[in-house]
Point group: C2
Chain length 358, copies 2
């Protein structure tokens, strides 16, 4: 790195360059022949300053490599313009899309995204301290937080918006997708097509969304009087899909008619295992459905029937909700629930939902 503008270069005895102090508004003021407060005004949005002054100061600032310190400013404005985003599992194909959408929306509002990833959802405690010490303006969490953890946000008056989850026990700000409605609709339409033996591959134990998808499917099956239902656990990864189908086939002593997977990637693993290992045609002999609508679900090899979440609209809603909470701290919690849209791929036989008595 080593190179820098002439006026601030220090060459030590041995020829090695030493870092010099950072350029301040006083340096700019001196060089531009104006007062420090004039420099400060030039960088304050909306402050009264002549165009001529603003241009002169901007030119000198560029020459010296000066930029106003957003961090120092945050100590005065009490806004850091940093938003924390907590994501549990970035290698799950759903979350990179969420993160990308959130990131672009924060940029448009001049806010930077401080990223916190968790190898597992249950590792959240270790990162919470960082939110407090970095004084983020607020947090969007796509990871599960306990009641106690949420109380810590309250205590610190730090705005918090849940993404794709919420708390049953108390109202919180949340942007969700209606998992239950989606799962019930899938079951209804699978049942209408004549499927009678249902397998369910659930998410990991600490995934609230996965549990909701699984339990809603089970409840709807019970409501329809379908009792040949087996549920196995999965880990949201590709391998879980194949392993899950194998377990289900053992439990059924044969294969199920339909498998509902708690996310898309498991559904893709399930399809591949069915075709390759069990030599079962999908959807002719086995219907497979997923949740999320990730990109590979749409690939020609799969054409998965799935429930696509409106990720862009959800990201937009989460970012606006967080900003509202930051600007209006006493605001009562709000929950916005979006509806997933059915992608009728080629991996499942679906009947008419209307005729199935809902």
């Amino acid at each position: 790195m080593g190179r820098r503008s002439k006026s601030h270069e220090t060459v030590a005895a041995g020829g090695t360059r030493r870092p010099t102090r950072a350029i301040t508004s006083y340096d700019v003021a001196r060089r531009a022949g104006v007062s420090q407060s004039a420099v400060s005004r030039c960088f304050k949005p909306g402050a009264s300053v002549s165009r001529q002054m603003r241009e002169r100061v901007a030119r000198v600032a560029r020459e010296l490599g000066y930029t106003p310190n957003a961090i120092a400013r945050s100590l005065i404005t009490r806004r850091s313009h940093l938003a924390g985003v907590l994501i549990s599992n970035l290698t799950n194909l759903y979350y990179p899309e969420v993160l990308s959408e959130l990131s672009q929306r924060f940029v448009h509002r001049g806010i930077r995204l401080l990223l916190f990833t968790l190898p597992r959802e249950s590792d959240v405690d270790q990162v919470l301290d960082q939110f407090w010490s970095y004084r983020v303006d607020g947090v969007i969490s796509a990871a599960r937080l306990s009641l106690q953890q949420v109380a810590m946000f309250d205590q610190r008056q730090m705005p918090l918006v849940f993404f794709n989850r919420y708390l049953k026990e108390r109202p919180v700000n949340a942007v969700c997708c209606d998992q239950a409605g989606g799962a019930e609709m899938l079951v209804t339409r699978l049942a209408a097509a004549g499927h009678r033996r249902f397998g369910i591959i659930g998410g990991p134990p600490d995934s609230v969304v996965g549990r909701e998808r699984t339990e809603s499917a089970q409840a709807r099956l019970a409501q329809l009087g379908i009792t040949a239902v087996k549920t196995v656990g999965g880990n949201y990864d590709y391998e879980s899909g194949g392993r899950g189908l194998l377990e289900l086939s053992k439990a059924f002593k044969g294969h199920p008619d339909a498998v509902i997977c708690a996310n898309d990637v498991m559904a893709l693993g399930c399809i591949d295992f069915a075709r390759t290992d069990l030599r079962l045609a999908v959807p002719e002999r086995l219907s497979v459905v997923g949740f999320d609508g990730v990109a590979p679900a749409g690939w020609r090899s799969y054409q998965l029937t799935t429930l696509r979440q409106p990720v862009q609209r959800m990201a937009e809603a989460a970012v606006s909700m967080l900003l509202d909470c930051i600007e209006e701290p006493g605001r009562p919690p709000e929950r916005r629930v979006f509806t997933a849209s059915l992608v009728e791929g080629g991996s499942a036989r679906l009947g008419d939902g209307q005729s199935s008595g809902r």
Copy 2:
């Protein structure tokens, strides 16, 4: 949010809660009956303070919800403990893995990751200002930067490490993977298996890595005296793979024997298009290879033959290199080049590399 600990709650006339001021070290000192400087020492790593004092202060701090302000501290230490990470295309399946690895490695070192995503590599200018104003300690860039942009880092003495790219024109800190060696090896082994008509599906024009992969493959083909080579452009996405194969087939008036794709996702699109639309068996009639080693490349439907980058080792190297640059600013640039490993999947017929005259 609205709830907070009793001792700091202010209920306004109408029952609406108003935000109160944040808790400071003085509040903790007063409640704990110690001096503010004692509180400060308790939160300074390595400072001399009795165990009894530390425990008393920690307990009160917990009760009040006090955490030392990392941002304020950064003004004194001149370290923000924030690292910027610049990623161009998060929906490319390769980058979420990189980001996840970087994030976890920064966490272990007490550094937070400020994320900057770019819809396109060429949008970088608009985010550079943010690095300066947030006083990040350094930046890892997996996006392309111009010579002029790199000079701005120098001018501000801000450490910069390139990930998976470098500059030809001048030395920079970079962690790379040997694209050329990998591409040459793939070509050599494909040629050894008897393929004679080669198609190449390249990356987008602004991808340095893509260009390197393409050009190295072309150079090796020329060296081997293979002239039936057609190259088409791609966009790193699934659709580009199918479209690319279609264009190549038109150019060849028939299909090529082998297609080298500049990334995995395009190779998967190419395989699907070959099977579904062209009814070509892979690898019997068409060999397809990719680069990166993303998760779906290993799925049963594909079993892609690809060059897997050692992402974990590269992430570790990039993070240590950045920290070295932060601690030792005058340090001359270093470039660490890793080698990709061949994943011999089932999507290509490969011959013995030894016999093909390299």
